[in-house]
């Protein structure tokens, strides 16, 4: 109740200043918190890297404090790289390299993206099919649903390296094993969301279909499926993020060939901290991109189905 939290705020009689208008929106708060985070990052980077820099400089430290700070924040293999080093690395490896280059982040992101998308599509399909089964067959609901819920409590990612190595042992390598891990991670949210969605029609609407003597198939296509669409998209947003995590973790045990996960691992192996941070940034960009795409698709579909634009 904002009218109560800020007396007179709803009346419009109190003239709002520029500052008040900015801070009551989201942009300014988000930006200032990000700025604070970056400042903390710089301080942390300096204090973590300084001891090594002191040892590096030895007795003959050239220049004053400012020069020391500058050197500390620009080490080649810092304990904690500073934000501008990460930004520079990301920009260099995204825009200045050929896409085919092994150092190009676009290349690695593309590798991860392809298995993410394959796994996501498989997982979503599987999730929808299981949900349809659960909603229509009592035996399936009673037998499967508890296990699907329980499977959420299991740290599934722990299986990832085994799946990769075992499948490699029988000659299956490349995209598919990673995609399978993504599938496993993404089917769960879709199943749960779709079961909820397919069950979401009100009793009134179901009774109406009943009075028309509609067949289960008709009820499904004309009522349950359209009603489940918002639930499907909400769970797809979760699933696509989970799918990306699956793909990244799936890349860890492959011997670090390609992909964002591989980049992280090789960075850890050679202490290329800047590369690791850059890979993390690349992963985040991919995640944001995927979730945004699903969000756009959801808005387009829901608007086509007559939902009020939010």
């Amino acid at each position: 109740m904002s009218a109560i939290a800020a007396p007179g705020a709803g009346t419009g009689l109190e003239p709002l200043g520029l500052w008040a208008r900015l801070s009551s929106g989201r942009t300014l708060p988000v930006l200032s918190i990000l700025l604070v985070l970056i400042a903390i990052w710089y301080v942390a980077a300096f204090s973590l890297n300084a001891p090594f820099q002191r040892r590096l400089d030895g007795e003959s430290a050239p220049g004053g404090t400012l020069a020391f700070v500058e050197r500390t924040l620009n080490q080649a293999k810092p304990t904690l790289p500073s934000p501008h080093q990460v930004a520079q690395n990301v920009l260099e490896n995204t825009f200045l390299r050929k896409v085919t280059s092994n150092r190009s982040l676009v290349y690695h992101a593309g590798v991860t993206l392809s298995s993410t998308v394959l796994g996501f599509v498989l997982g979503t399909t599987l999730g929808i099919l299981i949900a349809v089964g659960i909603v229509h067959v009592v035996t399936l609901e009673r037998s499967l649903m508890p296990w699907i819920i329980a499977s959420q409590t299991v740290p599934i990612l722990a299986v990832a390296p085994m799946i990769i190595v075992v499948l490699a042992a029988v000659g299956i390598t490349g995209l598919l094993p990673k995609a399978l891990i993504s599938t496993y991670l993404s089917f769960f949210p879709v199943t749960v969301g779709m079961v909820k969605g397919l069950r979401s029609p009100e009793t009134n609407h179901l009774d109406l279909m009943h009075t028309y003597n509609a067949s289960p198939a008709q009820t499904f296509w004309k009522l349950r499926l359209p009603a489940s669409v918002p639930f499907l998209f909400a769970s797809m947003k979760v699933a696509v993020a989970a799918s990306l995590v699956g793909a990244i973790v799936g890349e860890l045990p492959t011997g670090a060939v390609a992909g964002i996960g591989a980049k992280l691992l090789s960075g850890a192996y050679y202490s290329q901290t800047v590369d690791m941070w850059a890979a993390l940034v690349a992963g985040s960009v991919v995640a944001a991109l995927l979730v945004t795409l699903v969000g756009i698709a959801s808005r387009v579909v829901e608007r086509a189905m007559g939902a009020r634009p939010a």
Partner: protein, 289 residues
């Protein structure tokens, strides 16, 4: 019963109808004695579709021990007026005093109990702990809390349900518990916003009867928002008729019904005459749209 029927006379009812009452500026009372005193009160909400005048130029004075009903179609500002008294909204024009204080001071002095449209009981608290909620907040000791819970639950006929959770009771019982909660801290003013609006007719009749008995016993001042004409006429000593766009008072009707009112008073000519006048007032407020 007989006595109250004897008191009724058709001519008295006619008198009420004939008495020349001007809207809005009627019943000026000395402000020292009044519990609620509004002068030129106005409230404008700013919405996306432009400003909405929820209240304009409301002048009203409510004396101690009165039972005042506010009636009108939705959007007429009756609930808004109650919320202004309770300091849940701030007026944008005019003045209002509650017990001679500003609404904010009155709220901080815990001058009134508020009963909402829904019971709004906390589902994680038992009935007795719900009634204890305001007492805890106001820092009243445990022994006295228990004594007051006992007393107020008896007042609304809920003794024996202390340990139940709200969701284990019927809608009518829940609303009674919420009235007990509003009574628990002994404020002299009771603000009730369509408290029986969500209940069915039979339960509502029953609670109306009980509310009148409670009012007679406790001598509280009650402001009661409703959209039911019979409810307003049955309960009130005074009925404030309001109309929307802009929200304003169009008529104030003094009830001539006796203090003691059995349910079947609603079939007497006097009752019907007052109800007729309320209906006329409501219609007049609508005449130009």
């Amino acid at each position: 019963m007989d006595r109250s029927l004897k008191l009724l006379s058709f001519s008295a009812a006619m008198n009420v109808i004939a008495s020349p009452l001007k809207p809005a500026d009627v019943v000026p009372r000395p402000s020292g004695a009044s519990v609620v005193e509004a002068r030129g009160l106005g409230l404008t909400f700013k919405t996306n579709d432009g400003p909405v005048q929820a209240l304009t130029d409301v002048n009203l004075s409510i004396g101690k021990g009165e039972f005042v009903s506010f009636i009108g179609p939705s959007g007429c500002g009756k609930t808004t007026f109650l919320r202004v008294i309770a300091d849940l909204e701030r007026p944008t024009a005019g003045t209002i005093h509650v017990n001679g204080m500003t609404p904010e001071q009155a709220r901080e002095a815990r001058a009134y109990g508020y009963v909402f449209q829904a019971a709004a009981l906390y589902p994680w608290r038992t009935i007795e702990h719900n009634v204890a909620l305001p007492l805890e907040i106001m820092g009243i000791g445990k022994a006295e809390r228990e004594e007051r819970i006992k007393r107020t639950l008896a007042l609304v006929n809920l003794s024996g349900f202390e340990k139940k959770f709200p969701w284990q009771l019927s809608g009518g019982m829940q609303q009674r518990a919420s009235i007990a909660r509003a009574l628990a801290f002994d404020a002299d003013l009771l603000l009730m916003d369509e408290p029986f609006g969500a209940l069915d007719e039979i339960v509502r009749d029953h609670l109306n009867e009980q509310l009148l008995q409670l009012w007679a016993r406790t001598n509280k001042t009650i402001c009661f928002v409703t959209h039911s004409i019979p409810e307003a006429v049955y309960l009130s000593t005074r009925i404030v008729v309001m109309s929307p766009r802009p929200g304003r008072v169009t008529d104030v009707i003094e009830s001539t019904l006796p203090h003691e009112r059995p349910l079947d008073i609603r079939e007497t000519p006097e009752f019907l005459a007052i109800a007729h006048r309320v209906r006329e007032g409501l219609r007049a407020g609508h005449s130009y749209d």
